[in-house]
């Protein structure tokens, strides 16, 4: 019944994955759940046997788990920040991409936030933060900042979903109680629209500084120490730039996959990819500028401990990761995105995937080599992740895919009401653009 009525909707294709649950989704779901269960079994072995089964050791106490923590939190900057900036600047092309961006944020924040608990070895030790926490520790700043960002992002994701959820409730989509509960009595009255507009205006202003502060605070867990390779004043903005960079890349990958799988070519047009990939290119240059500044100041200072760390990164055991990072974060995206011929959807996908890999390598390069070089007279230790660590990295990626799949089967992946609003507001947008233009002589005389 609901399907019949929905088929008359011009935006039916967005609702289609919710109404018509194909066999493919179930198969993918089963595969993802199976992989996830296996990774949880591996986590179980870590719980029983302790952190000794990981590659971590007495000197390199932060490895894959913290790398993944910083990486996932960085990806989370895709959504809420970009969505809020685009909404605030009234960029009309934002409409089909904001929902995907916001979902990405909420999911990866939840995944990233769990990694420090995995790194603790014994998850019950997390309770120590509540009972014996000290606000002077940057680690505790992280806990508060991430909790705050997660709360804000979830609210910012949920509120613009209300009109779409209410539409599904009205069309009798199951589970009806869920849509009824989440729609909060929305009927689309002018008063309700005004309320939602007001709430979103507050949130989009609030979310931007929160997002920026979160990754700055994450950089503080490194830069507040006197560790060579970490103690840097530019780590805050450097981390924020890296986070936005990897976030845009992740958003582009998600958009390309959903466009292909759900046949959303009519919504996610080439212009969206062109705009976002230009932003990715700018961020690539910005990332290179920060990386260059970071290493140049270190090399120019020539402080022996700092130099040992830098040279170890350039030529030591981890040199493939360092130069791989430069290749993936700068060379590949700049080459692909600078030339119109290469800047196709396929090219953008390759560039974005390269940036995601490159940014993961960047997190690895920041964390591991700095710990490898001791300042006291110890022999350097090498860190190689064990199967458990790889499995839990896979757990993060699987959880991301699974959560996105689940979301797309219950809620529209594109904000339908915003698309409809965009169509209705074409005239007002034209007036707004006319308002930006310099006055002509006739208009001046009229005034």
């Amino acid at each position: 019944m609901a399907a019949e009525e929905f088929k008359n909707d011009p935006d039916y294709i967005i609702y289609k994955p919710i109404i018509e649950k194909g066999r493919g989704a179930y198969i993918l779901g089963i595969v993802l759940v199976s992989v996830f269960l296996w990774t949880m079994y591996m986590y179980g072995t870590q719980l029983i046997r302790g952190l000794g089964i990981t590659g971590l050791n007495s000197r390199i106490s932060w490895g894959f788990y913290i790398v993944n923590f910083v990486f996932f939190i960085g990806i989370s900057h895709a959504g809420t920040l970009i969505s809020a900036i685009l909404r605030l600047s009234k960029a009309e092309w934002r409409r089909p991409i904001t929902r995907m961006a916001e979902v990405t944020t909420a999911i990866v924040l939840a995944i990233g936030g769990l990694h420090p608990i995995i790194d603790l070895g014994r998850p019950d030790r997390m309770l120590n933060i509540f009972f014996y926490g000290r606000l002077q520790s940057p680690l505790l700043w992280d806990v508060t900042a991430i909790t705050c960002y997660f709360t804000a992002s979830t609210v910012y994701l949920y509120l613009p979903m209300i009109p779409d959820i209410a539409r599904m409730r009205d069309m009798g989509v199951r589970p009806h109680w869920l849509y009824s509960f989440l729609s909060w009595g929305w009927r689309g009255t002018p008063h309700q629209k005004k309320t939602l507009d007001r709430a979103l205006s507050i949130l989009m202003v609030l979310v931007i500084p929160i997002a920026i502060s979160v990754h700055t605070v994450i950089s503080f867990i490194f830069s507040m120490t006197l560790q060579p390779g970490w103690h840097s004043t530019i780590f805050g903005p450097y981390f924020v730039v890296g986070a936005i960079f990897s976030g845009i890349a992740a958003l582009l990958v998600v958009m390309i996959i959903f466009r292909k799988v759900f046949h959303l070519e009519g919504y996610l047009k080439e212009v969206h990819f062109r705009y976002l990939s230009t932003l990715l290119l700018i961020m690539s240059f910005l990332w290179f500028y920060f990386t260059f500044s970071e290493y140049l100041t270190g090399i120019y200072g020539s402080e022996p401990n700092e130099m040992r760390t830098i040279l170890y990164k350039f030529t030591g055991d981890y040199w493939p990761f360092f130069w791989g990072m430069v290749l993936c974060n700068f060379v590949i995206p700049v080459v692909i995105l600078s030339f119109k011929k290469l800047k196709t959807i396929k090219g953008i996908f390759i560039a974005s995937m390269a940036v995601i890999v490159g940014m993961w390598l960047e997190r690895l390069n920041i964390i591991v080599p700095s710990l490898t070089i001791p300042r006291l007279n110890y022999t350097p230790q090498f860190y190689a992740p064990s199967l458990v660590e790889w499995a839990l990295f896979l757990a993060g990626l699987t959880a991301f895919a699974l959560a996105f799949l689940l979301f797309s089967k219950f809620f529209p992946i594109i904000s339908v009401w915003e698309i409809k609003e965009g169509r209705e507001e074409v005239m007002s947008v034209k007036e707004r653009i006319d308002g930006y233009q310099p006055d002509t002589d006739i208009k001046r005389e009229e005034k």
């Binding site: 606000l135 700043w141 705050c148 509120l159 009595g185 929305w186 009255t189 008063h191 309320t195 929160i210």
Partner: protein, 99 residues
Amino acid sequence: MLNFHRDAGTPPYIFAMQILSISFIWVFVAGITWWIVRLIVLSVNLHDAPDLSFIISIVIIPIFFILAGVLTYVFMNLQRNRPEDIDNKEGENEADEKM
């Protein structure tokens, strides 16, 4: 004074769940506030960077209150049935039917 009551189309048990979720948000915010205040008291007692602790709490606590406030504001206003809105909506529906 806000004229807050259940929307006619919302079943009572759903409305109860919605009230519960809003209450949970306030319990969550109150819990975080209590925790941070406790941390400040500890830093003051130990004379261990209390100024820093104050600065962090001054930023964090209001943000949580704003978020909970925004959610409550939206929830209460969506549940509000204003007569002029109902008339407008009915008018719109009639116009749609005529078309």
